[in-house]
Symmetry: D2
Subunit: 234 residues, 4 copies
């Protein structure tokens, strides 16, 4: 399974109780059941201490939620790229609204990710920051208006101009960078409209993690991908 | 194996290449070989993503190197106490010189550790900060002069006044808090002198992790404990 | 005018529009009009760039809102104790809920303040943190429950246990440290009740700064001091 | 005096003892003596608490060394753009190596600067970060390799590729953004070579501030500007 061809659906487990430890594994298996061999590149981002267990037990690609701008050495309490890589991660989210980073550190982390062949999804709060990050060549920029994170209304419905603005801004600066959007994404329509606005995928968390039936939500999200792709084939 | 009776030797793996992933496991087994059923409470603190693998494969107690002042919820990229606990950690280091924390956050983390029954080792750079932290009732305060961290001279030899000062200051403020010292600890004499200054144990990293034969260094450190305890028995 | 004998009323100008630049000066003169030669040690804490202008134009003592844990040298964008001292400040607030600091830095700042003879008011969010900070011997600890800051209900009315808890905790650890309380303080009764709970004064901001008639509020606060002192004389 | 036409020489006073309070004023007058009506736009960046005094006593443009990503309101200890503006600053340095900022905050600060018509000089450690910042349209990006800051060798001599790389990268992304370079700049040749590499000016600190005769150094730096400009006229 490789990113780059299929639309991306990246599920951020944050530190939700429903996505910690054993529950993270159960959740992953439920997502996997409907997401493997689907039209999308579906990946999950569990907590650091769960990465290895999840990676050993799923065929879905596993991401970290953050890595630090450090290499091997004296860095107590920091997250080392080569450590999460060896644990089974194929990529990482960075600069999430809940873990904002300094610009000099972001450049360093992106270089470290390249060196260790980790897919890097750099989050941005605005189209402007999306453009700024894209100059540093992460694999993806993910635009997420902070005020919609964790809410009930999808960014692709509530703020299509932000999504479109990020797509346009990134493409203008660095065509090699993919664009995701996130915040409030929860159903087929949210995903469909996001893809229709030009993004390469979506980033979401509570929509799946806190759902009563995560597998059903996952299936619904995938319908949005399918609908979009089939229209494109016509 | 329980802390509190035996002198503590806590080995911080930091993000050393020699203590990452598979190498962390090999190192742990080598330490375990000489440290199990010894006179000391020997614990290891690997990186977050290695905690579960190490904990599942050793009888040594496993610590995290940091936890964040958060509970379950929306905290992308943060370290959740209940997650590292479920992964197998019995405790955590916090406020290391390489991961300094705000005082309000330290109080919160110590409360979270108590709630989750995690042993909390709060690091301090001076006797003054040791006293300050001890009012918040972590299980241990570990005093480490930053300028000696990673160096060749043990704090117990180079700065006995700092060690003694921390012991005295902590005991004056909160007798229930244990005191460790760290920085430059490498051999039998360093450990012996630390214990003779009144600490309940030592915190070390490169001395063991970067040694050519970590098992031999570990055995040497344990001799320091043995020597100290036997003198006390006379 | 010297702190230590009289109850303290320290007015934090934050970055309120009503307390910036020329308006900060007008506000200060209005406070001064009713506060000079009163029963309280009334001090004002304007923004860094306003300290000199305010200090040159009032007889009230002037505080900074923060200083950094640095001495002279290469520290672009930082706040140097000796600079704000030369500009006319006699003291500083540190570790405010809106500018939380690391414990190691707090110890360093308090030492720097002593060296430069600046009165240091260290803020705390809880009785526990108040006790912790008091071991480091700032002149005052100011306990402010973050959830009440900027609100309409005084900490001394809404959370007398927090105020009393902080007073008791600090006195137990370090009798040489004064205790202030803050958050929501707005009128005579708030001040009176705070002093009755054992504090040495109050810290407030919006109650005075955003009042339509700051002079009237100031006069009202001073009545609370007067009432408390006169009762004590009976 | 207006920036934009003339090469810029921006002198960062940091928290040097030689550039604090009264000494900052003496230094400024010495710089002013040789720099007024010169071929360059010479500006000085004193500490926050000195801005007003310096601005009131010099005709040189005055910059702040940092502003925070905040507007009027509850932000104790923060630096408000409108406050330093009212105190006399015409611009500000941000994201200096000694005060690194988060990317989301940089975008916000740049917008705040535009709103308050403050010239914004955003520092970068590499050509990559220079390009990244230039998408956010600060007035200037100043590239400074951290390892050369405070040293004896000018970036324009030691790392011409970094300077050239930053100029090229910024011009490719956003032609409207000026480029400065800094670190180790000390004499005529350093300035001349910097301008020859395509920058719009230089940022320096210790070279002038810690000189025995700052006025002489200033005159020397201006010779570098003059030499460059005259060559261009031929």
């Amino acid at each position: 399974m490789k990113h780059g061809k299929k639309p991306v659906i990246l599920i951020n487990y944050k530190t939700y109780a429903e996505a910690t430890g054993r529950k993270a594994l159960i959740l992953t298996k439920e997502i996997e059941r409907v997401a493997l061999d689907s039209y999308a590149y579906v990946a999950v981002a569990p907590q650091f201490a769960d990465i290895r267990m999840i990676a050993e037990n799923t065929e879905l690609p596993v991401f970290a939620q953050h890595v630090d701008p450090i290499e091997e050495g004296s860095n107590t309490g920091h997250v080392l790229a080569s450590c999460i890589k060896e644990a089974g991660a194929v990529g990482t989210i960075i600069n999430h609204a809940e873990k904002r980073l300094r610009i000099a550190d972001i450049e360093k982390i992106i270089k470290i990710c390249k060196k260790h062949e980790l897919i890097c999804v750099a989050c941005a709060n605005t189209p402007g920051v999306s453009a700024s990050l894209s100059t540093l060549s992460p694999n993806y920029v993910a635009v997420e208006p902070p005020e919609l994170i964790g809410g009930d209304i999808s960014v692709s419905v509530a703020k299509p101009d932000v999504v479109k603005g990020a797509v346009d801004a990134v493409k203008r600066v660095n065509k090699g960078v993919g664009v995701l959007c996130g915040a409030g994404v929860k159903n087929e329509n949210d995903v469909y409209r996001a893809l229709a606005l030009g993004v390469d995928g979506v980033l979401l968390a509570s929509g799946v993690v806190k759902a009563k039936k995560p597998g059903n939500v996952m299936a619904d999200l995938l319908k949005g991908v399918e609908k979009y792709l089939k229209e494109g084939l016509r």
